[in-house]
């Protein structure tokens, strides 16, 4: 994923290669998550039949706190990118680790929620609701974990070397990826938790 383009340094469309590639990947992710959520909505009418229904199970305040955490991690990410752009690498490093921290808080909240549900009997094979719920939130959780790993890797790289070192995965595409995960969680939170 190097932002190094072959000997030409001019980009015909004025958008840097890496940003264009990241946005293409994000539009593919949009279709990916749209399909994911519509599978959940497709089976939604069957959820009330089983004994464990969404209304009875979901603990809305807890999940809205974790969603708020993810929303704030989006803020810290954009601050980190902002400080990186104005070459204040120390602050940028702090904020990037803050984002990674908020990300882990969100994931641990998610895992806690999973243990709650499994204890109350909802597993991936217990019912169609279980499968769909764990599938949607699981795949999103996987994306968040990958995001956190990348954040830590980039943050640590920023730490080791001096600021002008060109590491391959620039802050910008990482910020775009993280925001994408966040807005997808906004939609999942509404579709899975709030809509009856």
């Amino acid at each position: 994923m190097s932002n190094f383009s072959t000997t030409q340094d001019h980009e015909s469309t004025g958008i840097s290669n890496q940003k264009l590639a990241m946005w293409l990947f994000l539009s593919s992710e949009v279709v990916f998550f749209a399909a994911l959520i519509s599978i959940y909505l497709f089976y939604k009418r069957l959820f009330a039949l089983g004994d464990l229904t969404p209304e009875g199970l979901f603990d809305i305040p807890f999940t809205s706190v974790t969603s708020f955490v993810l929303l704030m991690s989006s803020l810290t990410m954009v601050l980190s990118h902002n400080y990186y752009e104005i070459k204040d690498y120390e602050k940028s490093k702090i904020w990037i680790f803050a984002t990674a921290f908020l990300g882990t808080v969100f994931v641990s909240g998610q895992i806690y929620e999973y243990t709650e549900f499994i204890q109350s009997g909802l597993t991936i094979s217990s019912s169609i609701f279980g499968t769909a719920f764990f599938f949607v939130t699981g795949i999103h959780g996987l994306h968040v974990v990958i995001g956190v790993v990348l954040l830590i890797a980039t943050g640590s790289q920023m730490g080791i070397s001096n600021s002008n070192r060109i590491y391959s995965l620039s802050i910008e595409s990482l910020a775009l990826y993280w925001h994408c995960i966040d807005i997808v969680w906004i939609v999942i939170f509404t579709a899975v938790y709030l809509i009856p």
């Binding site: 994923m1 190097s2 190094f4 383009s5 072959t6 000997t7 030409q8 980009e11 015909s12 469309t13 958008i15 290669n17 264009l20 590639a21 293409l24 990947f25 539009s27 593919s28 992710e29 279709v31 990916f32 399909a35 994911l36 599978i39 497709f42 089976y43 069957l46 039949l49 991936i124 094979s125 019912s127 169609i128 279980g130 499968t131 769909a132 599938f135 795949i139 890797a153 790289q157 060109i166 590491y167 391959s168 995965l169």
Partner: protein, 643 residues
């Protein structure tokens, strides 16, 4: 890296040619590796097809058992669609697109190598189903004979309809190998699609605006969009199957309320754009070959490009024509039938544009041109039989019968394969600096043409006479042995033509007619390089003024709008050949990198760890897989860019 290389392969500073192949990031070498691997799988797929055809030659034949037959046609489907056709398309795409837009390499060279290695290891992983996976009869069913090589491969048809490909009705690990293998190939195609899109939009030569791009680059661009937007559907669908089969999910578990039709929707939402992903690059190649050999520009460039986008876009709205006989309401069926017919219009525009290019041209019927013209004929036959079952009522009679098999083989073999052979005969000099022999080429063409019609035309009639698709057994009483026999003879003729082609390939690679520069008086930029092209493609990045830039460098236009040669062909040749000896210090190429190979290597281990889930080997495989993945990715990011 100052290397004066006469041909692509010689890289003095590489320890060995083999190591260079593992670490290359040159778009040309990756393209050639795609083509070679794709062609190997074409032979494997062709062998499977032959076994099926020999089995079906006579009624009630016991040449193959049911399990072997089901595995054969499934692996034949996977191999031909994913491992041969998509590989050859992205091989041509990787090789030609940077050359046609005047770039030295793709936007992300190492990502390009990564997409090849993920494809390669995905292909190895899928074909491991022949040795590792095991299919068993559905729970409660019995199987009399023991399983052998083929009979334990994935056996659910290439679109793995649920719940038949679910855990209850095809237990065993073979289907999982097929499913996970396709996820890997999807990732490979997605990466190469993004790579080519960024290359096409960002790395064009000076003055090469979007409307001056060669039609082939446009078609590869439409394919990249189709890939980017249709692969998520298949990835999600295959994830649901992995969850269902491996972790006891209930997506398609009918007892828990799962709905198998959801799988069909998800699969065919990818399935139909997929067939346009296969055929559009071939449209692009034909639109490059016909103008060169009728020595006049492509007719109606803008409408051709627009028609390509129209096919791509409407391709997303027609997927349910694979499901007419399912229980979707009549409104949806009529709607999808109409939408399928609408796609025939842009395809018709394209075909009439090619024919119009032929008119008033100075024809040169060499082998590439023969293949292109045969492509048009076969594609129209395939298109017509396609429209026949876009008509919903007649599709109820024809779906899942041999009529459909006749249709898509006409379009894929008659259309796709002929187009790819046209591309091979046309660009072979560009890759190897030698021309494929015309005489053997013509023999190859006519035998293939005969074999195609003998094999697949009768299949239309078999379909109408009630021969259902995927039957390993048909009775004598069904009176359809005659045409099955003809079809088998036809498939043997196709085998002969492929052997003739291999002979031509081996012969011409050594004793072929030597070509230094621009053998066909080409029109697009890739012919302005010395053949075979050096590592850096263009000594100086070309300045583009008009469409068909290379043609108008050699010809000017008189008042009668005819081109007159500027007589500078030999000077251009001398200059371009001289550039290979000049100092190339001002050119800086990305260095080789082993990490794409390592990252690709990790994937089969992750896949096999899922297959052997629950045993100790699974843990070992998982460790190896995760370890190699981490080494690959972190090594990649820490690797200095431009050394």
């Amino acid at each position: 890296m100052k290397t004066k290389s006469k041909t692509i392969y010689k890289r003095p500073n590489q320890k060995s040619k083999f190591f260079d192949l593992l670490t290359t990031v040159d778009h040309k070498k990756i393209g050639i590796m795609y083509l070679y691997t794709g062609f190997v799988f074409f032979l494997v797929g062709g062998l499977e097809a032959l076994l099926i055809r020999i089995h079906l030659a006579q009624a009630e034949s016991t040449f193959l058992s049911a399990a072997e037959y089901n595995s054969l046609f499934t692996v034949h489907g996977f191999t031909m669609v994913f491992l041969f056709f998509m590989a050859v398309n992205s091989g041509f795409g990787n090789y030609l697109v940077p050359l046609m837009i005047g770039a030295r390499d793709v936007a992300f060279p190492r990502m390009n190598a990564l997409s090849y290695w993920i494809y390669f290891f995905g292909a190895v992983f899928i074909h491991s189903t022949l040795f590792i996976g095991n299919t068993a009869p559905p729970e409660g069913g019995y199987l009399s004979e023991e399983s052998n090589l083929f009979s334990n491969a994935v056996a659910g048809g290439w679109f793995l309809y649920q719940p038949n490909a679910g855990i209850q009705f095809s237990p065993g690990t073979a289907t999982d190998i097929g499913v996970i293998g396709i996820i890997f190939l999807g990732v490979a195609s997605l990466i190469s699609a993004i790579n080519l899109t960024v290359t096409t939009f960002n790395l064009r030569a000076k003055g090469l605006t979007l409307m001056k791009l060669p039609v082939y680059v446009w078609m590869t661009q439409v394919v990249s969009f189709l890939l980017i937007f249709s692969l998520p559907f298949i990835t999600i669908a295959l994830f649901t199957v992995v969850v269902d089969r491996q972790f006891g999910g209930n997506f398609y578990n009918v007892a828990m309320g799962g709905d198998p039709i959801l799988w069909q929707h998800l699969f065919w939402l990818f399935g139909h754009p997929e067939v346009y992903i296969l055929i559009l690059p071939v449209f692009g190649m034909i639109s490059e070959i016909i103008p060169v050999f009728s020595r006049k520009p492509i007719f109606g460039y803008a409408t051709l490009v627009f028609a390509g986008f129209a096919i791509g876009f409407i391709g997303f709205g027609v997927w349910a024509h694979h499901m007419f006989s399912s229980s979707i309401q009549s409104l949806a069926q009529a709607g999808f039938g109409a939408a399928t017919m609408i796609i025939a219009i842009p395809t018709g525009i394209k075909i009439f544009n090619w024919i119009a290019t032929l008119w008033f041209g100075k024809r040169n019927l060499n082998v590439a041109m023969l293949f292109s013209i045969a492509f048009i004929i076969n594609f129209v036959i395939g298109g017509v039989s396609g429209v026949l079952h876009a008509v919903v009522p007649s599709d109820w009679q024809q779906t899942d019968t041999y009529f459909i098999i006749g249709h898509f083989h006409y379009v894929l073999v008659g259309g796709g394969l002929f187009g790819i052979f046209a591309g091979i005969y046309y660009w072979f000099p560009h890759v190897f600096g030698k021309k494929l022999d015309e005489k053997i080429g013509k023999i190859h063409f006519w035998i293939l043409f005969l074999g195609l019609h003998l094999t697949f035309l009768p299949q239309h009639w078999l379909g109408l006479q009630g021969m259902v698709r995927r039957t390993w057994w048909y009775d004598k009483g069904m009176n359809i042995e005659f045409w099955n026999l003809i079809s088998t003879i036809g498939s043997l003729i196709i085998l002969i033509s492929v052997l003739v082609f291999i002979l031509n390939w081996i012969y011409s690679k050594r004793m072929g007619e030597d070509t230094e520069f621009d053998p066909w008086d080409g029109r697009t930029l890739e012919w302005s390089t010395p053949l075979p092209p050096p590592e850096y493609n263009f000594y100086d990045i070309p300045k583009v003024k008009t469409k068909d830039e290379f043609w108008y460098r050699k010809y000017s236009v008189d008042k009668e709008d005819r081109s007159i040669s500027k007589g500078n062909h030999t000077e251009i040749k001398k200059y371009t050949l001289a550039t290979t000896l000049m100092d190339t210090s001002h050119i800086h190429l990305p260095s080789n990198s082993l990490f794409p190979f390592i990252t690709g290597l990790a994937l089969p281990f992750l896949g096999w760890s899922l297959i052997f889930r629950g045993s100790f080997t699974a843990v070992v495989l998982l460790l190896i897989g995760v370890l190699t993945l981490f080494i690959g990715i972190f090594g990649w990011t820490l690797e200095p860019e431009n050394e």
